[in-house]
Structures are given as C-alpha cells and as structure tokens.
C-alpha cells in the first residue's frame, strides 16, 4: 500500500516540488548552458541529491520524525538553516566562474578537474538542499511515512514519493536548447545570486 501511496502523493504534488525546486534548478541549468545531454546529467545529479535527502529523511522520519514535527520551536530553526545553506550554495554558484563570463576566461578555475568536481557536487548539493526543504508535499510525505510505523517502510515510502515527483523534472534538461546563448548563462548566474539572497533572508527571518 505504502509504495503506491508514496508514488501517488509524489505525482499529485510534484508540480509544487517543481515550483519549489525550479528557482534553484532552472537558473543552474541556464547558467551552465550545457548540451541537452549535459543537462540530463545535471538533472540526474540534482535528483540523486534529492533522493539522498529523501532517503535520509525517510530514515529519520521513521525514527524521530514524529518527535521533530512535534517540537514546533525547532521546526523553523531547522528550516532556517536549510534555507541559509541553500542560499550560500546559490550565491557561491552565481559568483563562481563569473569571471569567465565577464572576461571570456576563468580566473577562479585554472584547472579543468576543479571545474568538473564543482559541476558534479553543485547540482547534487542543490538537490540535497531542496530535497531537505520542508515544502508542503514534503511535510505531507513525512506525515504519511510516519504512519508506516517502520524504518524500511518509511524509506520505501520516500523512494516512491521521489519517483512520483521526478516525473515533473523530465522536461527540464531541454533548457539545454538555449545552450549557445551566452546571455542565458549570465542570466542564470544572476538569477542564482538573486534567489540566494531571497533564501538567505527567508532563512534568517525563520531563525530569528
């Protein structure tokens, strides 16, 4: 029962997931301006990050999830920290390799290997951070997974929930259609910085 419930919940609320993850993922994809295949890679890494976050939360919600939710004082602090982490990541991403755009070459990154490492970890970390975002579908999923009453059931619930929401991420790699437009890369970088500032503000407000 849990498997289909998780999938259906993901399917029915996936649009919201996209709305929450979109401001993070779309600027990233535009900023990277890879080929469609490159973007598929980024989206997959992003989704892996989300999956890891989901599985971890599945595990946690199986053990202490219900307690965490009951501690209303902790909830905003937890969300605030997540928002701040996400914001820092977005701003770093926005500024990272910006010189390359401005001056036609990278000053920050002389070595290709460093670039590859970043382009591997950034989408994954983005996926992880947005996966930890306590958005409404996610809260619902936590509540539902707690009902399963066991750790394995809870993890399985989150896995199927992840599959359901992932359907909505399928069109995103095609943003690579615009890969030749350098302007879109710049816009993506700027958008990431802006989104970072917004999440930083939200995070700070939640904590204080």
């Amino acid at each position: 029962m849990g498997n289909s419930a998780g999938f259906l919940l993901g399917l029915s609320t996936g649009v919201v997931c996209l709305a929450y993850c979109g401001p993070v993922l779309v600027p990233y994809l535009m900023g990277e301006a890879k080929s469609i295949y490159g973007n598929i890679g980024s989206v997959i890494l992003f989704l892996i990050g989300r999956l890891v976050a989901y599985l971890m939360i599945g595990l946690l919600s199986g053990i202490i999830g219900s307690r965490l939710l009951q501690l209303s004082a902790l909830k905003p602090v937890f969300m605030g920290i997540i928002y701040i982490l996400l914001a820092i990541m977005l701003v770093i991403y926005g500024l990272y390799r910006f010189q390359e755009i401005c001056l036609g070459r990278s000053r920050l990154l002389g070595k290709k290997s460093t670039s590859r490492r970043w382009s591997f970890w950034l989408p994954m970390a983005g996926g992880f951070a947005t996966g930890m975002n306590l958005c409404p579908p996610f809260l619902l999923a936590i509540t539902e997974s707690i009902k399963t009453g066991e750790i394995a059931g809870s993890i399985l619930f989150f896995f199927t929930f992840f599959l359901g929401t992932t359907v909505y991420f399928i069109p995103l790699p095609f943003i690579g259609f615009f890969r030749r437009q350098q302007a879109l890369r710049i816009i993506g970088k700027f958008a990431a910085i802006l989104a970072g500032i917004i999440y930083l503000y939200k995070g700070i407000i939640m904590i204080i």
Binding site: S12, T13, V15, P136, P137, L140
Partner: protein, 150 residues
C-alpha cells in the same frame, strides 16, 4: 523581390502606427472585452474568496468566507476572511467567537476595537494561527485569519 517583401513590412509599420491611438481611444471597450475572459478575476487570496455562510449574531451580520489556499497548489497555509457588518454604525467593540468550519465547535475568538483598529485573536483550535489583517472596509469590518489546512 526585396521591394515586394518590403510592402508587408511597411504595412505592418502603418498598423503599428495605428495601434497606439486605437489602444487609447478604444481602451474602455477593449478593457471590458478583456475583463470577460475567464482568468480576469482577482485571486481569492486578495478578494477574500467565496462566501461560505452568512448569519446573524446579536446585532451583527457575520459573513464567513471559505478558506483559500495562500500559496500555489497544495499548500498547508490558508487564509480565511470574516466580515462583520451592522446596519448604521459598527459597535465600538466587536467581541465574537467564530466557528468557521461550522462543526459546532468555536475555532477562534476575536476582539476588535473599531475605533482604534486594535484586534486580538485567540485561537481555540490548533489550525488557527494568527490574524493577518483587520480593517474597516467601507461600512464593514473585515478580518483575515491565517490557518493551517486540516
């Protein structure tokens, strides 16, 4: 060939020239037509949403609207609008207990000083969070309450 292609280009330029005066001269007509389109309505978050029930309590008429979702799709955050009206003037103090879901259990208590606008909202159930707005609107007093979806 180039000259032939230029003809529609010049024609389009003339049309663009005409669009500006027509837009302003016929603005009211176009606006009325545009307003008939299905999306041309203010979102319930701003309009207050549909009326759920209207009832008489003491000398006040209380209109309780249906809760509306406060963010896009499936959010737990909701808003509720309640309107207090009375023939003639509103009383100096409105002190009412509201059962917004009509389950025979009061959901929140609200005390409004209509002279100063000071509003105190006391949640009586866990899904009522806080008072979002409280103001005189024309002859009525309107409050909006933050709710969590049940």
């Amino acid at each position: 060939m180039k000259k032939l292609l230029a003809i529609p280009a010049y024609l389009w330029a003339v049309v663009c020239l005409l669009i500006i005066p027509v837009t302003f001269i016929r603005n009211d007509t176009f606006a009325e037509q545009l307003a008939t389109l299905s999306f041309m309505k203010v979102h319930p978050v701003y309009s207050g949403g549909e009326l759920n029930r209207k009832y008489q309590q003491d000398s006040l008429t209380i209109s309780v609207n249906k809760p509306v979702s406060a963010t896009l799709l499936g959010s737990r955050k909701q808003q509720l609008q309640v309107t207090f009206s009375q023939k003639g003037h509103l009383p100096g103090i409105i002190d009412q207990t509201i059962d917004y879901d009509f389950d025979a259990n009061p959901d929140f208590k609200v005390t409004i000083n209509t002279a100063s606008g000071e509003t105190q909202l006391t949640p009586l159930v866990s899904d009522v969070r806080s008072c979002l707005a409280s103001s005189k609107v024309k002859e009525d007093w309107v409050i909006r309450v933050n709710l969590d979806k049940k």
